[in-house]
Amino acid sequence: MEPVKVNILAVGRHEEILETVLRIINKSENWTAHGALTDEKAIALFEEQKFDIVLLCGGIEEECEAVLRVTFTEKDPEIIIIQHYGGGSGLLSNEIIHALSKRNSLPNSIS
């Protein structure tokens, strides 16, 4: 039986950078990623499937980010929402690993 992959929703406004982020994440055998350039697409994807992490990439307006954070948290209080900085491979793995390690260190975490 294959291990369940960490499912990541990446939201960003720059199409080419978002594509790069998705490609880097999907190279990992333990992670899988879906991308959305618009808030509507992001929310639709979030309603369709269970995500472990939402990755907020570049270009998302402040007001939109606030709405997305509230929407995702209301639908899934355990969702991890992190800001991705750098737009590429440099920090991406670090950000995901760090978020997962913090989640797993919580008293009620699911291993």
Binding site: T20, R23, G59, G86, S89, G90, N94
Partner: protein, 291 residues
């Protein structure tokens, strides 16, 4: 100083955001095609000499993360790529301090950045830079380059020379404001101005000495005679200073540092500096401590 004239048009106004690729397509990107290295685990190089006090953190050179890709040999003062150490995530807004050696003719292919202030300081050799804002430049020892990646840019960096290694520092700061219009700045500094002096090479202000960035940070570089002493006064006492020894031996606030050691200090208004070897060189990075 010679401030070079570069095209600084923002991407938002150029229509360059109309990317041709659709989500789902694969875009070739050399930076991500690096051969995978073994994952470096937590605290793989324990800092047994750490002198962490209430307001300091010491990173000895040999406790840094290390990745050797052959053409690229990189030491990471903070977690980066496949080096992950939860105790080395950042110092205030200073997120990345990479000490890179690049083989002749090799380099980083076209790759993206967003929402990061990226500073390159060449130590040896020449680097050729090209970006999606139409900037093409060669930076060499004595130059400093700064990019505000903001809403997104693509760039490449190659060792310009086929027969000589290039060494440079790659420094990333979290931006003061997210999603700014991308910009590029480069400056040729007079290295003589840092002899027994702290030469300002970066600031938040376009009309101040050095390159400017989208963050309340100030960088200074100094090259000192043996036994020279000086003091650095912080621009903002709420900031911290991360000192990185480029060459030789230096004492900062009673901490003896050697080449490529890093020392972070906060909750202070000034720091004392003493050179313990001839031509000792240091980079001081004053940065906000709140991300």
């Amino acid at each position: 100083m010679e401030r070079k004239d570069f095209i600084r048009k923002g991407l938002m106004g150029t229509g360059m955001f109309v990317a041709s690729a659709s989500v789902g397509n694969v875009i070739k990107n050399d930076i991500d095609e690096l051969k995978e290295l073994d994952v470096i685990g937590f605290n793989h190089l324990p800092n047994t000499e750490s002198k962490v006090k209430a307001n300091t953190v010491l990173h000895k050179a040999d406790t840094r993360g290390h990745a050797n890709h052959g053409w690229l040999d990189s030491h990471h003062s903070f977690s980066f790529a496949n080096y992950y150490n939860p105790d080395r995530m950042h110092f205030g807004v200073l997120r990345v301090l990479n000490d890179d050696r690049v083989d002749g003719g090799k380099g980083f292919g076209r790759h993206p950045h967003d929402n990061m202030e990226i500073i390159s300081i060449p130590l040896e050799g020449d680097l050729e830079h090209k970006d999606s804002m139409d900037n093409v430049a060669v930076i060499k020892h004595g130059d400093i380059q700064a990019m505000s990646a903001g809403t997104g840019i693509f760039h490449s960096e190659y060792n310009k020379n086929e027969d000589q290694d290039a060494r440079f520092l790659q420094i990333w700061l979290f931006p003061k404001t997210k999603n700014v219009t991308p910009r590029y700045d480069q400056l040729t500094l007079n290295v003589e101005d840092r002899h027994n002096n702290l030469q300002q090479v970066l600031s938040p202000n376009a009309d101040d000495a050095g390159v400017s960035i989208n963050q309340d940070a100030w960088f200074h570089m100094g090259k000192f005679d043996k036994d020279f002493t000086t003091e650095y006064k912080l621009k903002n006492p709420a900031n911290g200073v991360y000192a990185f020894v480029l060459k030789g031996d230096i004492t900062i606030e009673d901490n003896d540092l050697n080449q490529r050691d890093g020392l972070g200090i906060w909750d202070t208004t000034s720091i004392s500096i003493k050179a313990n070897s001839q031509d000792a060189e240091v980079l001081l990075m004053e940065v906000p401590m709140s991300v």
